[in-house]
Symmetry: C2
DNA sequence: CTGAAAGCGCTAACAT
DNA sequence: ATGTTAGCGCTTTCAG
């Protein structure tokens, strides 16, 4: 951690010019027909003294910051923090850094963050867009700023994105529940949201319900900081409709559902949740889930974004990754309480 | 998101020099005795055209990047992601950005990250130091790099830090368990770690055990990716020693404990865990915890670090925040299985 | 093949 | 009070 050494120091100590050093460092030795001997000598010296270019100066000059902006809905949601973790790792391997923020599904905050990143001249964005961000994203696109959305997308915008096959995920889960003949009344809990992932999950649910000629029970819930209202509403929804089973559109909705079950001492209906959570594996019974392959999603995101930055994307990358239904105890509950104990 | 406007554009359009604009923008109008009228005019114009200085150029010039490096053990642990969330928020309010990384308690990785941040010229560091980082941190200090540690500290290093009162937290929890006369055999589960937080928790446990003249049962566990070994060891520890109660030194150790209970169908001993987790509130019975005030910790961290950056810390800030014991169902379990059902 | 030199956009010492 | 100007460290054009 000694005093910073400059490219000019190297040039002086080696008795050559900074240009030559710069060319060699940037892999243009061949192109500029610099002798192999010199190239090797410079490279070795650089390694010996541990020279690292000043990224700031480099960025100022090249206009590339080597920083990627990651804006997720909520970094404390394990799904997002997991994706973030992988993204971070892959980005680093490619010489990029991540500046991340959560925006708590707040359009205004998201706009500010994007502006902030723009001021910082990040090289590209990975965003889970909240509602009302269409214009901001549109102007980003118009300015040719590399951008990839994930988890959801904006149908009216021609952007790259990586999302889950939400329709199939919801369909499979609902079908799984309906396949059990004891489940007649299967409900769906979602959010007041027009985002694509929520719409697709709802459609998947409806498709399965229709195939089985059952009635749909759909409850949308408003989540705020004092979440008790959601818990109460879920209690009402589950008990008033005497639901046999419920599909929850997110992990935190399912957690609120479990809170309702606990608070009101309800019999747990058969249930499946979207997105895994430590809690679900340990809950008794363990909770069945529709999972996303976070590593895969992160990989696709970064690769798409880096290709975009390098101008290597021939076409729009609109990637849909498959969902996986993990059946656990909560979706195969014996419906007769008397036998449940054994 | 139109074309970027420069400070020189402003100067030209207003018919004044860049210096004047720069002074005004940097709040030196008074100091430089620039007329109030002009100051106001410039400020208004700047707001009107939405000028934002190029941070890169500013950084290159001032040597300040306005970026803080946050290196935590594991961003997917809710404790750390919560602290990160607050830190991020407060930092932004103060005009700083956060670049964060998790280092998975890997000394080598942490060293690389610090080097990386150093190359990026971050203005300061907030670090949860893993073992073996002493030298790296020492050289950071020698170079007068602003630095605050948290969650744990390095006793041999004179650094600022913000940590929990781990001793008291463990003592209170253990005492709470021992206060119940049915708890004779109270165990402690920790990690193979010489980090201060683990040592202090152990000492708190020992102190309480000694006060009650009970035997200590201490199990250290090695955590790796395939965590099954930990689960098995915990099963062995709990059942072979016929423990009445267990204090877990971290939330994930407690989760492994719960996995052991589930996998081996053990009777759950009375238990308390360090650091809260969604799971703990919903588990049946809910799990008692020693909690940290993450908002408070984040606040102290940022303020200490910013003061250090501004050279305003008169002395070493070694802050110990109080712990809080939250008693829930898991530490008041009726010990007689026959009655447990009701 | 290599070097001189012009910036990237901003700050601040120095001049007026 | 305000303007001129020299850099911060790097890349890259242009001239040898």
């Amino acid at each position: 951690m000694k005093k910073r050494i400059l490219i000019s120091d190297i040039a002086r100590n080696l008795g050559i010019s900074v240009t030559t050093v710069s060319f060699i460092l940037n892999g243009k030795a061949k192109e500029k027909r610099i002798s192999e001997g010199l190239t090797k000598r410079v490279l070795e010296y650089v390694k010996k003294v541990g020279y690292k270019p000043n990224q700031l100066a480099q960025s100022l000059r090249t206009g590339q910051s080597k920083i990627l902006g990651l804006i997720v809905e909520d970094i404390s949601n394990p799904f997002f923090s997991n994706v973030a973790k992988y993204i971070e790792r892959i980005a680093y391997d490619n010489g990029y850094h991540i500046i991340y923020c959560s925006m708590d599904n707040d359009g205004t905050k998201a706009k500010e963050l994007i502006q902030l990143f723009y001021d910082r001249q990040v090289d590209g964005y990975i965003i889970t867009p909240p509602e009302g961000l269409e214009d901001t994203l549109a102007s980003l696109i118009k300015n040719n700023v590399p951008l990839v959305l994930f988890d959801r997308y904006i149908p009216t915008l021609e952007t790259h994105y990586v999302v889950l096959d939400n329709f199939k995920g919801a369909f499979d889960a609902t079908k799984h529940l309906l396949d059990n003949p004891v489940n007649k009344r299967v409900g769906f809990v979602s959010l007041y949201s027009n985002q694509t992932q929520m719409k697709d999950r709802l459609e998947g649910y409806m498709k399965a319900i229709d195939e089985f000629h059952q009635q749909a029970f759909i409850k949308k819930v408003k989540i705020d900081e004092e979440e008790d209202s959601a818990v109460e509403q879920l209690h009402e929804f589950i008990s008033a409709n005497r639901l046999d089973a419920v599909l929850f559109a997110t992990n935190y909705l399912a957690i609120d559902g479990l809170k309702a079950v606990k608070a009101y001492n309800l019999a747990l209906p058969n249930m499946v949740a979207f997105d895994d959570h430590t809690l679900f594996k340990l809950y008794e019974p363990s909770i069945s889930v529709v999972t996303q392959d976070t590593a895969e999603i992160a990989k696709e995101l970064i690769h798409t974004l880096l290709n975009e930055i390098k101008g290597k994307n021939k076409q729009l990358q609109q990637i849909v990754v498959p969902s996986e239904l993990q059946v656990r105890g909560s979706s195969i509950i014996n419906p007769y309480p008397a036998e449940q104990i054994s």
